[in-house]
Point group: C2
Chain length 139, copies 2
DNA sequence: ATTGCAGCTGCGAATTGTTGCATCTACATA
DNA sequence: TATGTAGATGCAACAATTCGCAGCTGCAAT
């Protein structure tokens, strides 16, 4: 499992630069207990390094996403949330009635992925998905 | 298969009103060849009935979605698209390299739905999903 | 240590979609 | 046919995210 140094190396190797802003944003995502929004990252970073711009936060998250260092999930509450890939791939079942979220291991989606690959030759890139529906309690 | 009259009846039965705006918006979705965005619906409606407001379009689509008359799909290009339910449930495989879209029958997702129901008691509400990945050609 | 410059940042404006509220209207009832 | 009112609309403000651009900076090569 990679640590912060490895991630910074990965950036350098691909021709990207290490900047204080990027380090802080990366730390914010890594330190977060759960999925964290761009706004929350912004607040976190500003606390120690004022004058960071929210658009830099968005741009850095975009970059980290491309490098597959973070994943993005839309929980349907009007803002997208981010999560370090170090904490593993998983999916979320979002109950549209009570708002509860159930975490689901990636393995549940393996048959679907195989089926799409076999029937359509399509390699699905589903690392972090939010599926909406109704949970056991609310049925 | 329901026609426009049936849909309008369904609205009335549930205590919703039939307004010119709603009729026009409904027609726009029904007439659309493919998935249509809110913006496109707005342009279509404005052409014959000016002074409709874009927020009415969004609110009407929200309503039609709740009544399960249209489905909403996020193709990841920054805008959500809508589709009449009359044209059947299906899903989309979006290639992140060439941008191509493969339509997939809903049945492919049945095992996943059963698995989520069996293991977690969660009734997944997946009628129209866009799955990202790499298609056969671009592999 | 200096320099060159591609890549990065901050800022402000634009874009896309949502919400609050005052006004209006479809339609059930009288 | 007239009326009351819950539901619908238009408008403008708001929120989340993206974009253009001028100036700044990390870092590789001197």
């Amino acid at each position: 499992m990679s640590n912060k140094g490895d991630i910074l190396n990965k950036l350098t190797q691909q021709g990207y630069r290490i900047t204080p802003q990027r380090i802080m944003i990366l730390e914010a995502v890594e330190d977060a207990e759960n999925h964290i929004s761009a706004e929350e990252i912004y607040i976190f970073v500003c606390a120690r390094y004022p004058n960071v711009n929210i658009s830099t936060v968005y741009r850095t998250l975009e970059l980290l996403k491309e490098l597959e260092l973070v994943t993005e999930t839309d929980f349907g509450d009007g803002r997208v949330r981010y999560h370090s890939i170090k904490k593993g791939h998983h999916h979320h079942l979002v109950c549209q009635k009570c708002g509860g979220i159930i975490d689901v291991d990636e393995s549940v989606f393996a048959p679907l992925r195989e089926s799409l690959s076999g029937k359509y030759g399509f390699e699905a890139d589903i690392h972090h998905l939010a599926i909406f529906g109704t949970c056991k309690k609310c049925k």
